[in-house]
């Protein structure tokens, strides 16, 4: 029997005809993911070696959230495993009861609402899982054939497909297929390119990404003059994503805001405090077709919708799960999937090609060491960025090693901060004026 069916039967019975009265549920919800994935990796210029062999993964697991008749809650992760007998699950139910705790704000299961139409499945990915996986082997072979001869290449490619099931005691019963395709490669572990969406990458996207990665790798082979105190710092799209993930996203988590653990207290949200430059907006958009952060319904049964976190530089709302929304006194919002689904917008964004031409004295930061060690609440950073690329008179001229010191909240509020659109990425190049010196 499928895990979702098994759980549905178990919880329905516990709600309406429990074997013991203390095991009576008043509400429940279930999330089950069934997934299959195939992957293949490259290590040190070798495809499918002993550490990166072609792999097949199969899983069927999920989580349950229960509200007992006395109002207490329980949550547990669940797996089909080998357990399709009723006795095992009855025992589990008793253990979940043991683990129950008081959390009145959480004891709320939303009523079903109409779901939006969001495209989250690419049938071509399903075909790979079904056996037409030569495309993965071919792609990896092409990378290795085309890579710079002196470069040590690492990489990986993965296709995943499966069903997501969400059920609630309030009547929501949704099952939908979704897919994922992720690939990345790096040269000498210094320059990398990647793709992650709910669809296969198109040949033209692959070609552009390859060309861009190659040109950055070539620039890295030349030593460039050092930076000066006036050098403009430009965060590459992947760096913009990383900085937002480290300093911004955690401070917009509803529970952190309400527990006083975020950079912006609740009052600042309520008074729509200006915290970024008015040209900036920040939103979660799970409705974009075939993007990794897109979904139809959250794990808690809330239909996908767009949520603006910052509009014209002003705080609007943190992202709120059901429990947070009860405490906040608002509707639940969209939820980012890691960083996926979060979008940064700037009113005066221009293309990167255009922006690059105007950079007289700059440095392009591709990656930094130790970002995850920085204090998210203060926004301050002190980072080393060996292997950055020097820009002079509108041209990338070679490699340089730098150290960055500043505050990301100040960067986001500064009138001098601009963005430039990347053709290949969701996040923009972020052009900031911050402390920079030679490493």
């Amino acid at each position: 029997m499928k895990l979702v069916k098994l759980l549905e039967d178990l919880l329905y019975q516990a709600q309406h005809a429990p074997k013991k009265e203390e095991l009576r549920l008043s509400d429940w919800r279930i999330l089950v993911n069934e997934s299959e994935a195939v992957s293949l990796g490259i290590k040190d210029n070798s495809a499918g070696g002993v550490y990166t062999p072609p792999s097949y993964l199969q899983g069927e697991s999920g989580e349950v959230f229960l509200v007992w008749a006395d109002g207490k809650c329980s949550q547990a992760s669940v797996q089909l495993g080998s357990h399709d007998d009723g006795a095992y699950w009855q025992q589990e139910l008793e253990q979940w009861r043991q683990a129950s705790y008081e959390d009145p704000d959480a004891a709320h299961i939303p009523s079903p609402e109409p779901l939006p139409l969001v495209v989250v499945e690419d049938k071509a990915v399903q075909a790979i899982i079904a056996g037409e996986d030569q495309i993965l082997f071919d792609q990896v072979r092409r990378w290795l054939a085309d890579k710079p001869s002196s470069a040590k290449m690492q990489g990986s490619i993965q296709a995943a497909w499966g069903y997501r099931h969400v059920r609630t005691s309030t009547g929501l019963s949704v099952t939908y297929p979704h897919s994922q395709f992720v690939s990345w490669y790096s040269f000498d572990s210094l320059i990398s390119g990647g793709f992650a969406k709910r669809r296969l990458s198109r040949p033209e996207e692959q070609a552009k990404l390859w060309e861009q990665t190659l040109s950055l790798y070539e620039a890295m082979q030349v030593v460039a003059p050092p930076v000066g105190p006036q050098t403009q710092v430009i965060l590459a799209p992947a760096m913009t994503e990383d900085m937002l993930g480290q300093f911004i996203l955690p401070n917009f988590s509803g529970d952190r805001v309400m527990e006083g653990q975020g950079a912006f207290p609740k009052e600042k949200f309520l008074e729509n405090k200006l915290v970024f430059h008015p040209d900036f907006s920040l939103l979660i958009d799970p409705l974009q077709a075939l993007e990794l952060g897109s979904y139809l319904v959250t794990a808690e049964g809330v239909p996908a919708e767009r949520t603006v976190l910052v509009r014209d530089g002003k705080l609007q709302t943190p992202f709120l799960r059901v429990k947070d929304s009860v405490r906040w006194g608002a509707k639940p919002t969209a939820i980012p999937q890691g960083m996926a689904g979060l979008y940064l917008q700037h009113k005066a964004e221009i293309s990167w090609v255009e922006a690059l031409q105007d950079v007289e004295d700059g440095v392009l930061i591709l990656s930094v060491l130790g970002l995850h060690t920085q204090e998210a609440v203060s926004g301050s950073y002190s980072l080393s960025a060996p292997h950055s690329l020097r820009i002079m008179k509108g041209q990338i001229v070679g490699k340089t090693d730098v150290k960055l010191t500043g505050n990301f909240f100040a960067d986001m509020a500064a009138p001098t901060t601009k963005t430039a659109k990347s053709e290949l990425d969701i996040y923009p190049y972020l052009m900031i004026t911050t402390g920079v010196q030679t490493l």
């Binding site: 290590k43 550490y51 062999p53 697991s61 008081e102 060690t373």
Partner: protein
């Protein structure tokens, strides 16, 4: 699932491979976890979970591999996974993958280790654990009400069984438990957070904390320190004599040296040359030693590798000279080092990689230091000890870096960065506090700069190793503090000089 059930599962899957002329490794694991988090006096989460599954890594007779894994343990899945892994291995061979037949040379191992936990998983009911964690949390809030506190407790039991075509079969249990306090304090309009933990094998860690409140005292001290850091000035960036605590020393040993000697990294490591470990290379002053190996009762304890070999304790650096690496069966020979059973994996669903377990950095030249209960008392004791031994350099800052917030290393270039919670200048009798700033540089220069240790060894600094996108428990330590000379290749960030 218990050890016997898992062994039976591995036997049954291996039985499906009898007709195969290659080699198969079957890894099965059953993991139970109880966790809870209290935030500002209220339970935010109590959760239970179990995850069982198995992975099959098949090798063609020429040494091409394929891998298949599932968490569904229904009848027929074993056969399906074996077929899938063999099919993928054969296709891999067809694309001309790099062949590896070293697994045929692995020693036959048959062992069943008893669970080392003092309290079995589930022996202390969840309700009782909840009460204990709430008691610890409430005491902390009462003692430091101006802080925002979260207390977490996590208890895990992993039962592993690894079987191979040659008849090897090892099974063992890894129990782990940790209680953590995370505090956020604000002062002068700025916020700082602090995270401290106490780890062990099982629920005993809660009983011990309730008896001695060691973690609570540490949390209070760290919260006071974080408050002072809020309003503290930044240091000018530069090169300073440093004193790092054992958490940071673990970070340095793990990120900077441990990863650089893992056998699969030799092609991209500063401690490798032409793909081989640079054995015999002087990397530190005489008297500096780096050792890695599992310790019973430790957070990162694992007695066997995920390929079914005995995990050995390895002296990586002896008396300042690079002596050995962490080798797994697949790459040790190529990397010019012996197989030490270093392969570890996050779960049955991951391919094992050579990794550390508990890594410690020790020096022969140790100055005595009695650990003190309160943080600033101990800092004063550090200063007095250094003064007594003429270790403080007149007119120069001597900076004590407290708290390990994580770090990162590029093993190819040898660049590292680490972050601390804050800095104290112990050369100044007023012990001024500074904002944290990155501790960065070249790993070989950092090792060369180590000139001594303060206090006995402390090896309970814990973390999670993220190598290869997996999350595997890691731990280690050093003397209570390590002394490092100023070095032009090792710097503290901060404001512009």
């Amino acid at each position: 699932m218990e050890q016997k059930e898992i062994k039976a599962l591995v036997h049954s899957v291996l039985a499906e491979t009898r007709a195969f002329d290659g080699y198969v490794i079957v890894r099965a694991q059953s993991r139970r976890e109880w966790s809870m988090r209290i935030s500002n006096g209220r339970f935010e989460r109590v959760s239970t979970g179990e995850d069982s599954g198995f992975g099959v890594q098949a090798f063609t007779k020429n040494g091409a591999s394929g891998f298949a894994t599932s968490d569904v343990l229904a009848e027929g899945v074993g056969q399906k996974l074996v077929e899938k892994a063999i099919q993928l291995a054969r296709r891999n061979e067809a694309i001309g993958t790099k062949l590896n037949r070293t697994i045929w040379e692995a020693a036959l191992v048959q062992a069943e280790e008893a669970n080392p936990a003092q309290k079995a998983f589930g022996e202390v009911p969840l309700v009782e654990l909840e009460e204990k964690v709430m008691t610890l949390h409430s005491r902390l809030r009462d003692a430091f009400p101006e802080g925002v506190w979260q207390t977490s407790y996590n208890q895990v039991e992993e039962v592993w069984c690894i079987g191979r075509t040659d008849g090897s079969m090892v099974s063992f249990v890894i129990p782990r438990a940790v209680v953590m306090h995370q505090g956020t304090v604000r002062d002068q309009g700025k916020a700082q957070s602090t995270l401290i933990h106490r780890s062990g094998m099982d629920a005993s860690v809660l009983f011990e904390e309730l008896a001695d409140h060691r973690l609570e005292r540490k949390a209070l001290d760290r919260a006071e320190f974080a408050k002072a850091v809020c309003g503290a000035p930044q240091l000018p960036s530069g090169h300073y004599p440093l004193i790092i605590d054992y958490g940071l020393a673990k970070g340095l040993a793990h990120e900077a040296f441990g990863h650089a000697v893992e056998s699969d990294h030799m092609n991209e490591s500063v401690l490798g040359e032409a793909g081989k470990l640079r054995k015999g290379l002087r990397v530190a002053r005489p008297g500096v030693n780096i050792i890695d190996g599992p310790l019973v009762g430790d957070w990162a304890y694992q007695p066997y590798s995920a390929n079914g070999l005995v995990r050995q304790t390895v002296t990586i650096v002896r008396d300042g000279v690079l002596e050995a690496g962490l080798g797994d069966i697949f790459s040790a020979e190529e990397a010019g080092m012996p197989v030490t059973g270093a392969g570890r994996a996050e779960s049955y669903g991951h391919i094992p990689l050579p990794r550390m377990s508990n890594i410690r950095l020790l020096v022969d030249r140790m100055l005595p230091l009695t650990p003190l209960d309160r943080l600033m008392d101990e800092v004063k004791a550090v200063r007095e000890t250094l003064l007594q031994h003429d270790e403080l350099i007149e007119g120069e800052k001597n900076l004590l870096l407290l708290g390990y917030r994580g770090g990162q290393v590029n093993p190819k270039t040898g660049d590292f960065v680490f972050q601390c919670d804050g800095i104290i200048d112990v050369a100044d009798p007023h012990l001024p506090i500074y904002q944290p700033s990155i501790f960065s540089g070249k790993i070989l220069s950092a090792l060369e700069a180590i000139r001594g240790g303060l206090g006995e060894g402390c090896y309970d600094a814990i973390g999670t190793c993220g190598k290869g996108g997996q999350s595997v428990a890691s731990s280690g330590g050093s003397h209570r503090y390590l002394l490092m000379d100023a070095d032009q290749q090792v710097s503290l960030g901060g404001e512009h000089a």
